[in-house]
């Protein structure tokens, strides 16, 4: 098991490294560098910068050094907890991102949790009562869930919320005072009241897939002799289904989180922009539109690293829960 964890950790580190290279490339891609952009910003606000000042700024930020030195400088400041300065906000990136990263985790986990909570009973129902009306309804809903991209779904939900209830369904809190207030029980309740809409929008496609897998796995299990034996021995129907077949069929629930997580995080970025959630999504969007590449690169790296760590944790949990994987890992 230790060997497996080490192997997975090495892959995780390699992945974060790959993300950091791409994020750095994104920072470097636009013509000009940080200082040119900074000077342009100053000039737009009326003040001018001399050539000497620009040169000293370049030296200060190390922009006169070769590209790999710049990359190493950029990466090493992360280790020291510095994330650079955002041009758009004129404040350290760390301050700008603030608790938005935490909110991203909340929204993502909320979506995954809701996916599990709903997919489990629906999957069992669809398998036990397969080819019933309910099964067809869920299959149809599932197909819609897979087919409609989540940002369009968010758009439609926004419109329906407005047209039917005349309410704004966006945001994670009732008011901006609530968002800025320190954490309390009221704030958590308020968050939970708003969280379910983005969670469903984000989780729908993953849920549809999970229901399909659960249904098919359980259908396979239900036909096996041990189920017939249990039933012949007079166990209650509840026990016959839930005690053994469901437990065996549950396996994909844990094993799929590894590759659903990147999709959910991806989706949360764009859904947050549409629904105006206080996650890193809208921040990344604004940074990209304003070509504030330092902020954008940092967000991309942080979101990527977060996803990789989440996947790593889920993989380790999987090995811990299901001993069969351990053998393959060796």
């Amino acid at each position: 098991m230790i060997g497996y964890i080490i192997r997975r950790s090495i892959v995780a580190v390699a992945t974060v490294w790959a993300v950091s290279v791409i994020a750095f490339a994104i920072i470097q891609l636009p013509p000009g560098d940080y200082v040119t952009a900074y000077i342009a910003q100053l000039q737009a606000s009326g003040s001018s910068v001399s050539m000497e000042e620009a040169e000293s700024l370049r030296q200060q930020y190390g922009l006169d050094k070769p590209i790999y030195v710049q990359y190493l400088r950029w990466v090493s400041q992360f280790a020291r907890g510095h994330f650079g300065v955002s041009m758009l906000w004129n404040r350290p990136v760390k301050e700008v991102i603030g608790n938005r990263l935490g909110m991203t985790v909340v929204v993502t986990l909320g979506a995954v949790m809701l996916t599990w909570l709903l997919a489990l009973p629906i999957g069992i129902y669809s398998a036990v009562r397969h080819y019933s009306l309910g099964d067809y309804v869920f299959t149809f809903l599932g197909f819609i869930g897979v087919a409609i991209p989540n940002f369009l779904l968010a758009l439609v939900v926004m419109y329906l919320g407005f047209a039917l209830f005349n309410a704004n369904v966006g945001g994670l809190f009732s008011s901006s005072e609530m968002y800025l207030a320190p954490w309390s029980m009221d704030k958590v309740v308020d968050l939970l009241k708003h969280l379910w809409i983005p969670a469903i929008i984000l989780g729908l496609s993953g849920m549809a897939q999970l229901v399909r897998i659960m249904r098919n796995n359980l259908l396979d299990e239900l036909g096996k002799p041990y189920v017939v034996t249990a039933r012949a021995k007079g166990l209650s129907e509840f026990k016959v289904i839930l005690k053994y077949p469901v437990r065996v069929a549950l396996n994909p629930f844990i094993s799929t989180i590894g590759y659903t997580l990147p999709y959910v995080v991806s989706g949360s970025i764009i859904v947050s922009i549409v629904l105006g959630l206080p996650t890193v999504g809208p921040l990344l969007y604004q940074a990209l539109l304003a070509q504030d590449m330092f902020l954008a690169g940092t967000i991309i790296l942080l979101v990527g690293a977060m996803t990789v760590i989440g996947t790593l944790i889920s993989d380790i949990l999987l090995v811990w829960i299901d001993p069969r994987i351990r053998l393959e890992g060796r």
Partner: protein, 375 residues
């Protein structure tokens, strides 16, 4: 029918199945899948529109006119007093003296007849043949841009229906070109990985693992935002396609690798090797045809993903940019809740996106079932 005739008929049918080619068998099986057949027709219609959007459009998609801002949809009425006489009602607008908003009203007494294959604005069919015929239009002396608003108009008074037709070209073709790029990379890397195995396979598989564990949308957004603003429509188009394909090839590479791994052990490959066929010939003459159908099916299932990605990026203003017209660009107008609430017809492009995604999914499913020989 006598019993003998029935058995003879069955034997003839069996005979037909024995001599049918692989593609014929697939076609027969595919034909039984009603929804997939319907979806194939929908996809075909969309591609016909994508080839000649000018013919289906009623007005020039760039023709803006503040006077026509946000005219609501005005559907075609097919019958007039029980006779087939397609027409639209004339639209007249006035400014509300209280809110200063334009209010549009259609006048059922003013009927404007619709003509088919009518004269309209001039364009070049397929970029070659100059003509001014359009599928629908109005008679002499009237301008289509002033009278026909099938799906309403946007804020700048441009006809949404015509813009939707033009948007089909970019959105549908980006899906196709993007998937073609991923297919090339996927077949190459997946094939190398599956055919040679060993350490090359290991390196490529770890690479795929890494790419798949990265959330792609933030990366796409970052790369797309780095596309210079002053690039032309064509340059942006290709840049966006490449950005989308950059992380999209891993799924296909996995499918191809899996097929190669299982086929490598087959007798006919061993026979070809013993007969002294070159590697090139084994791969392209013997192995590729036997899983081509499967590749086509999984490629079809990947087109909607591309279309969604392009729509999402353009919707955010990071992908295709005006004056280019794509479904995502059109949806930009539906970005804020006020606009949607007041003029919900601006969301029609979303409906079109959903229809084509469903169609591609059903088509792909049908193709996959038809291509699966073990059923």
């Amino acid at each position: 029918m006598s019993k003998k005739a029935v058995t003879e008929g069955a034997a003839a049918a069996e005979e037909r199945i024995y001599v049918a080619s692989q593609w014929q068998l697939m076609w027969w099986r595919f034909r039984r899948h009603r929804v997939a057949m319907l979806s194939a027709a929908v996809v075909a219609v969309f591609y016909i529109v994508a080839i000649a959007p000018e013919f289906f459009a009623t007005t020039d998609p760039q023709l803006s006119e503040a006077r026509r801002s946000l005219i609501p949809p005005e559907p075609i009425h097919w019958f007039d007093n029980g006779k087939f006489r397609p027409h639209v009602y004339a639209v007249a607008g006035y400014r509300d003296s209280m809110t200063f908003k334009m209010v549009w009203e259609s006048d059922p007494n003013m009927k404007i007849p619709i003509r088919f294959f009518a004269q309209g604005f001039e364009y070049k069919l397929l970029g070659l043949i100059p003509t001014s015929r359009h599928l629908i239009g109005v008679g002499e002396g009237l301008e289509a841009s002033d009278t026909i608003f099938l799906l309403g108009a946007d804020v700048q008074g441009r006809d949404l229906y015509s813009r939707l037709m033009y948007g089909t070209r970019i959105s549908m073709s980006i899906g196709l070109v993007g998937v073609l790029l991923t297919l090339i990379v996927g077949i190459f890397l997946g094939g190398v990985s599956g055919y040679y195995g060993g350490s090359i396979d290991n390196v490529i598989q770890r690479g795929i693992e890494i790419i798949r564990s990265i959330p792609t949308i933030p990366l796409w957004m970052g790369l797309a935002a780095a596309v210079p603003r002053d690039w032309s429509v064509v340059q942006t188009y290709f840049a966006i396609t490449i950005v989308l394909s950059l992380f999209g090839w891993t799924g296909l590479a996995r499918v191809v690798r899996g097929r190669f791994l299982s086929l490598r052990e087959e007798d006919f490959v061993a026979a070809a090797e013993i007969a002294g066929a070159s590697q090139f010939r084994i791969i392209f003459r013997h192995m590729l045809p036997s899983f081509l159908s499967h590749i086509i099916a999984s490629t079809t299932l990947r087109v909607p993903g591309m279309i969604i990605s392009e729509t999402a990026l353009s919707f955010l203003g990071l992908g295709m940019r005006p004056p280019a017209v794509s479904w995502g660009v059109l949806l930009q107008a539906a970005q804020n809740i006020q606009t949607i609430a007041l003029s919900p017809w601006l969301m029609t492009p979303a409906l079109v996106v959903i229809i084509i995604i469903l169609a591609f999914n059903f088509l792909g499913d049908g193709l996959r079932d038809a291509a699966d020989p073990y059923q």
